[in-house]
């Protein structure tokens, strides 16, 4: 039987963060980013021999268009005793967000037409500043970090993307854009800020994929 959880308490908030990470990976792109506006409801079910399953009702907003919100129901299953497998996340999104087709295409063409591979650092900078032309890269980093966050979330962790330390485009022979990121993830419970190396592939129709990611070696 599922137990009702106060949405303002941390167990529900942590499960929501894992679900939002997964959603950012699925839906992320240079033209949009989803953020949790409110966790409306949360329940937890302890499944013997399997793990803990959270049922969540989320309200999300588009960071570039805050008047637009969508609802989402999510199920997050943390496997029993596992520190190595990602939680299973199932989600259903209700409602439509604004189309990013134009912005996606423009970004794609812009990057493809660059003579030299795109490089940038410290997004945002120390003062929280993100120059407008770096916002699409910032949002792609969100998609990439969404993957890492989802894959590494546990019931006692809550990750956020703290900063993009470095990003380098890698030109490819196929139609994907490739960005190699070094991101800093902030983990709320331990308060650690952890560097991760993540490779992101992105294409306007195919969306985002992370072929590889790893915690950056010590001293990096």
């Amino acid at each position: 039987r599922a137990m009702e959880l106060p949405p303002g308490h941390f167990p529900a908030a942590r499960a929501a963060a894992a679900a939002v990470g997964y959603l950012r990976y699925l839906r992320g792109g240079p033209g949009s980013g989803l953020q949790l506006r409110q966790l409306r409801r949360a329940r937890r079910q302890d499944i013997d021999g399997v793990g803990h399953k959270y049922y969540l009702e989320l309200e999300l907003e588009d960071v570039l268009d805050k008047d637009r919100t969508v609802s989402c129901t999510a199920e997050v299953l943390y496997h029993l005793g596992s520190n190595t497998s990602a939680p299973d996340v199932q989600l259903t999104v209700q409602g439509e967000l604004r189309s990013t087709e134009e912005a996606d295409k423009e970004f794609y063409n812009r990057i493809r037409s660059l003579e030299k591979e795109f490089v940038a650092e410290n997004i945002p900078d120390s003062h929280g500043n993100v120059p407008p032309e770096l916002e699409p890269i910032h949002l792609l980093a969100w998609a990439a970090s969404g993957y890492v966050i989802w894959q590494n979330s546990m019931e006692n962790t809550k990750f956020h993307l703290a900063q993009v330390k470095h990003v380098k485009q890698v030109k490819r022979n196929d139609e994907d854009l490739q960005f190699d990121f070094v991101i800093l993830l902030h983990e709320m419970v331990s308060q650690e800020v952890l560097p991760w190396e993540v490779t992101l592939l992105w294409h306007p129709q195919r969306g985002a994929r992370v072929p590889q990611s790893r915690a950056a070696p010590a001293g990096s």
Partner: protein, 398 residues
């Protein structure tokens, strides 16, 4: 926008370029106009005309190079440089830029200016020195009396939480303004004093400017510790060393070798004990948009939990009334995580009933790197919540 360069090698090429000048719809901006053979022609081409212009040149067999890939990026960089180099010291607290993040020197200078401008209301106390021997300053706002019941506010105990020190600066000015206009907290100042420590962890703060923007702890080196720094919000004598802090010096939540090992913490402990009449204590952090009360080190509810919960509800509603910013509230241990040795658990156990911790904006989009444009709105809305707490303390003496 890109800047393309063509060096015309023939009269035909020169003519091509001169014709391009006539095509107004392309909106080309010639930095170096076509004039003679062999002289470079530089034109700034807006993004939407790029394909057309390049196609035009290629079809005519005119070779070109891309001089500037991205004009906007260059402009932005320049602007940043200009701003950085034109950081002039303001001469008074009216011209001080509250909408920007400042260095420790700029904040300490601000404090001196505020005191100089308002000597009858504001004084600066040095309550101790940090590990690296930086002064620990507290501003005292008082309209008189002797050892009046007081409110304590601190910001910046975790150095990377930059919106908090910036808000502290704004609070200081706001108190002075309210007093001058006889509104807001002026009535509180009739019977109570306000103490405000803006840079509670100056060594850490300096470090975030010079070396590591994400530094949280103090900068102490203790015997036998491999790493530098202690989490000043795990170093207080309330459940010290229990679950909810780390014994590993390399951890961000390292509690330190013993309670009050950090001068930044000990100086406040000594101040609070010797003052003896502090009625409300608020320690300000970021981020997560939370208003929290004791306990963090135990699941046992605080005896005054109901009252603290009611105050929190009111404070959060007041905060939200300004810009709609949503805060969650509750005890530390249920709302955010178990934390031992934290500030307000100690102050509460000392008998300071109205002990609260804030976690300011945002909820993770920018996190510690909150854009400077959000400093003032954050400070404004937080101030409304602080006033609820201060007024409650004033109206419910104990």
């Amino acid at each position: 926008h890109q800047v393309l360069r063509v060096v015309p090698q023939s009269n035909e090429e020169l003519q091509e370029l001169q014709e391009l000048q006539e095509l107004e719809h392309l909106q080309l901006d010639f930095w170096l106009a076509p004039s003679r053979l062999g002289l470079p022609v530089d034109m700034r081409v807006p993004f939407r005309s790029l394909q057309a212009v390049k196609a035009h040149l290629e079809a005519a067999g005119v070779s070109y190079s891309i001089m500037i890939e991205d004009v906007q990026a260059l402009l932005d960089e320049e602007q940043t440089e200009m701003l950085r180099s034109s950081r002039q010291r303001s001469v008074d607290t009216n011209t001080f830029n509250y909408e920007a993040y400042h260095t420790i020197d700029e904040i300490y200078n601000f404090m001196d200016m505020l005191v100089a401008e308002n000597p009858n209301l504001v004084s600066k106390l040095e309550i101790g020195r940090s590990t690296e021997n930086r002064p620990l300053y507290v501003l005292k706002f008082s309209t008189g009396g002797t050892n009046r019941p007081a409110i304590w506010i601190d910001t910046g105990i975790h150095s990377r939480e930059w919106v908090t020190q910036a808000s502290g600066v704004w609070f200081a000015k706001k108190i002075v303004q309210d007093h001058a206009n006889n509104e807001g907290v002026a009535s509180i100042l009739e019977t109570m004093d306000i103490f405000l420590e803006i840079v509670t962890n100056p060594d850490g703060f300096a470090y975030t400017h010079t070396t590591n923007r994400m530094w949280r702890k103090t900068r102490s080196r203790h015997a036998g510790a491999i790493c530098v720094g202690v989490d000043p919000n795990r170093n207080w004598d309330a459940g010290f060393g229990d679950a909810g802090a780390s014994g590993n010096s390399c951890s961000e939540t390292y509690h330190g070798p013993y309670p009050n090992s950090e001068p930044e913490v000990k100086s406040i402990v000594d101040f609070v004990k010797s003052h003896g009449n502090i009625k409300a204590f608020v320690s300000i952090h970021s981020y997560s948009q939370l208003l929290l009360y004791p306990y963090g080190y135990t699941t046992t509810p605080a005896p005054d939990e109901q009252e603290l919960n009611e105050i929190s509800a009111k404070a959060v509603a007041a905060l939200s009334s300004l810009y709609g910013t949503k805060f969650t509230y509750g005890s530390i241990i249920t709302t955010i995580y178990r934390a031992s040795g934290s500030t307000v658990d100690w102050t509460y156990n000392q008998g300071i009933k109205y002990s609260f911790t804030f976690e300011l904006r945002d909820t993770g989009r920018y996190g510690f790197l909150l854009p400077a444009t959000q400093i003032v709105p954050t400070a404004q809305e937080t101030w409304l919540a602080l006033k609820v707490i201060m007024e409650h303390a004033r109206d419910n003496s104990y």
